[in-house]
């Protein structure tokens, strides 16, 4: 009898062993899985970046063959975008969204499990192409046709399959987030009372729903062109290669906002907490994100100014792109206004968040330069573009993820991280990232093309400095791994509140939170 009673005990903890992770439907477990997966991908993609920078240390071909360089370049981009940044944000959403809105779990827990567990297969397929005849995809992460169709290595089919799987994973993740936010908020939590991270993810999820199917469509068309004799992108059959670029960037531009909007949410939380002030301009923050999301659908062709568009289209896409600076400027203003006259302390998350605001803004400004159509004809496909998008993605998205990890890790595992090591990690990363990418502005403006394994002699000095910075940045991420593992293993116990004056439902539960939180919804006033 007692055994029966025990099995009906609904306060059960996690299952034991590997099956806990394989079959889990718990949002905290799945969040952890996503975050570790993205960390692994971050290190793999980072190792590829090291190959690229090592080759560019000196002019001339030094270490790898140009063919392999192209594969590294392509996989680095694909893995960082789809394997590191996006899953990290989905992991954060899994951990935080239910706790922030006072829900017991995600709305669709089994789909949640599925959407995570297909990811390792997607990237397994993609990485396995490295060992195939003809090598891995070598056409850049933008996989322009006909380079990715007619002239692609045979492994392109595996690449297409992998993109289908990871696309399905993202779509399921996004559906889960929206259904959770729309239907499972605690009583009293109206939309305009939601924490900004939740808002940022709600908008991101809608973007994902809108554009991931378009990416799936684009790779499906490639698949049909390669294997089924259609001619979507093949001029021989009346198709058009430029059509590929339009479809790709119709997906691609919202995609870059998918990678930055959750970062906006994270920065808002952290800056408010460590300034010990309420966030300045909550409502305008929400509307700024909504405007950015809507505008992201009408600017795609600014990636293809040099493709031969009519003047009217170039002007339209130039102005539409510049318009995005307005809501983005509102956000930067609000963050600065939140810090203004706050009693700021500089713990590691705050250091990363302030650095995010400053360096993301620099990346935004170089984006404005690129948006100027006539100037873009000079900048197009140079290292200036590389510097631009790495400034918004590395000290932008990646630093925000690191800030989030330092900020919420004590909540997740119940232990405080080592503050001294955390700050050391920040300063090493900060110096590394700037030494790596700032010189790339100069060599880009001087005319060094991107995606080429060799370069003219006049670019040698800055490239050498850039490579030194890249290895510093890469090595300091090993320190990050060490800090995270050390914190998970033990350390000073964290209080439920963790940070003085931190606002939000996630700080009302213990650190670490019980396996099931908010089984009875909290009341939000």
């Amino acid at each position: 009898m007692s055994a029966v009673v025990e099995s009906h005990d609904h306060h059960h903890g996690p299952a034991k062993g590997i099956s806990r992770w394989l079959f889990t439907t718990n949002h905290k477990d799945i969040g952890t899985l996503y975050l570790w997966f993205s960390f692994a991908m971050f290190l793999i993609g980072g190792a590829m970046a090291m190959v690229i920078r090592a080759e560019l240390f000196q002019p001339g071909m030094q270490i790898v063959e140009p063919e392999f360089y192209n594969q590294m370049l392509t996989l680095h981009g694909l893995i960082m975008v789809f394997g590191a940044v996006m899953p990290a944000f989905v992991g954060l959403a899994n951990w935080l969204v239910p706790m922030m809105v006072g829900a017991p779990d995600m709305a669709l827990p089994r789909m949640n499990n599925l959407s995570f567990w297909i990811l390792p297969f997607a990237f397994g397929v993609m990485l396995s192409s490295l060992f195939m005849e003809g090598g891995a995809p070598n056409f850049g992460w933008t996989f322009y046709a006909p380079l990715s169709t007619t002239y692609a290595p045979p492994s392109v089919t595996f690449f297409i399959f992998s993109v289908h799987i990871l696309g399905a994973s993202s779509i399921m993740g996004a559906i889960n987030v929206i259904v959770t936010i729309m239907n499972m908020r605690a009583p009293g939590m109206t939309l305009m009372k939601m924490p900004l991270f939740v808002w940022s993810w709600l908008i991101t999820a809608y973007l994902l729903i809108a554009v991931m199917p378009v990416l799936a469509g684009a790779v499906t068309m490639m698949l049909m062109d390669i294997h089924f004799g259609t001619s979507f992108f093949n001029a021989a059959g009346g198709g058009d290669p430029v059509l590929f670029q339009h479809i790709f960037w119709f997906f691609g531009h919202p995609e870059v906002y998918i990678m930055i909007l959750p970062a906006f949410g994270i920065a808002s939380h952290i800056i408010s907490t460590f300034s010990r002030k309420k966030l300045f301009g909550y409502t305008s923050m929400v509307w700024a994100m909504v405007s950015i999301a809507i505008l992201s659908f009408v600017v795609w062709a600014h990636h293809m100014f040099t493709v031969g568009m009519p003047l009217a289209a170039e002007l339209f896409f130039m102005w539409a792109t510049m318009l995005i600076a307005v809501p983005t400027g509102v956000k930067v203003f609000n963050w600065v206004a939140t810090m203004f006259r706050g009693s700021i302390t500089y713990e590691t998350p705050m250091l990363f968040a302030i650095c995010f605001v400053v360096l993301f803004t620099i990346g935004g400004f170089s984006g404005l330069m690129l948006a100027i159509t006539p100037a873009d004809f000079q900048y197009h496909d140079t290292y200036f573009v590389v510097a631009h998008f790495h400034y918004v993605l590395v000290p932008g998205s990646v630093f925000s993820i690191m800030a989030a990890v330092y900020y919420w890790l004590p909540k997740w595992c119940g232990n405080m991280y080592d503050e001294r090591l955390g700050r050391l990690h920040f300063w090493l990363s900060f110096i590394g990232v700037n030494v790596t990418f700032f010189p790339q502005h100069f060599i880009g403006l001087a005319g060094m093309p991107r995606r080429i394994p060799d370069y003219a002699l006049q670019f040698a000095d800055w490239n050498m400095i850039s490579t030194a910075g890249a290895f510093l940045f890469g090595a300091s991420q090993i320190l990050f791994l060490f800090i995270v593992v050390k914190t998970v293993m033990g350390g000073k116990k964290a209080t439920p509140e963790v940070w003085e004056g931190a606002q939000g439902l996630e700080w009302t539960v213990d650190s670490p939170p019980p396996y099931h939180t908010f089984s009875t919804p909290p009341l939000v006033k």
Binding site: A107, I209, A210, M212, V214, G217
Partner: protein, 189 residues
């Protein structure tokens, strides 16, 4: 899961499916857009009806002819004259030389393109070899005609137009037909 969540799930699933099909709908939309605006240098692959040559004297225009072979297309393909000087509003005839260098019956298809693209709308072709496939026997050669006119509304800024033809191997598409024809030829002899 409550009813609200089910409804949300339903409309999100519909949105996903809708966007997938929208990505395919972009293909015809893109072509329609290019056709309406005359962008991209796309020309209709059918003859325009005969335009009365305009009595007023047009202006001088240089037309350059360019030829490309797509991928492994083994034919010789080149314009008979690389440049002609014409006047707008009048018909001119030009030819391309083509030769099948293989020992097989092959079918080719030429695809035209005009640069600058805003000249495309002012190009009228009475006849063009690009309107149909070219079927050549082994070693056969031919001069393919194109009869064209640029109308007087051609923008002032354009003094030089490039007409480019790329020839594609479309034999595979017509394989069955060729096999039959070859068969009937053999029986005749």
């Amino acid at each position: 899961m409550n009813q609200g969540a089910k409804n949300t799930l339903k409309y999100l699933a519909l949105a996903v499916i809708g966007m997938f099909f929208f990505s395919f709908a972009l293909v015809p939309l893109y072509n329609v857009f290019c056709e309406i605006t005359g962008l991209n240098g796309k020309i209709e692959l059918s003859p325009t009806k005969f335009v009365q040559e305009e009595p007023i004297q047009g202006r001088a225009l240089k037309v350059q002819f360019v030829s490309h072979n797509n991928e492994q297309m083994p034919w010789s393909f080149s314009p008979s004259a690389e440049v002609i000087n014409i006047t707008t509003g009048k018909y001119y005839k030009a030819t391309y030389f083509v030769k099948n260098n293989t020992d097989k019956v092959m079918v080719g298809q030429a695809i035209p393109s005009v640069a600058p693209s805003n000249a495309a709308a002012h190009l009228k072709k009475l006849e063009c070899f690009c309107f149909e496939q070219q079927r050549l026997l082994p070693g056969e050669e031919a001069y393919l005609p194109v009869k064209l006119l640029f109308d007087n509304e051609l923008p002032e800024s354009i003094n030089n137009v490039v007409l480019s033809y790329t020839i594609f191997d479309v034999t595979d598409t017509y394989e069955d037909e060729i096999v039959q024809n070859t068969h009937s030829m053999n029986t005749k002899s």
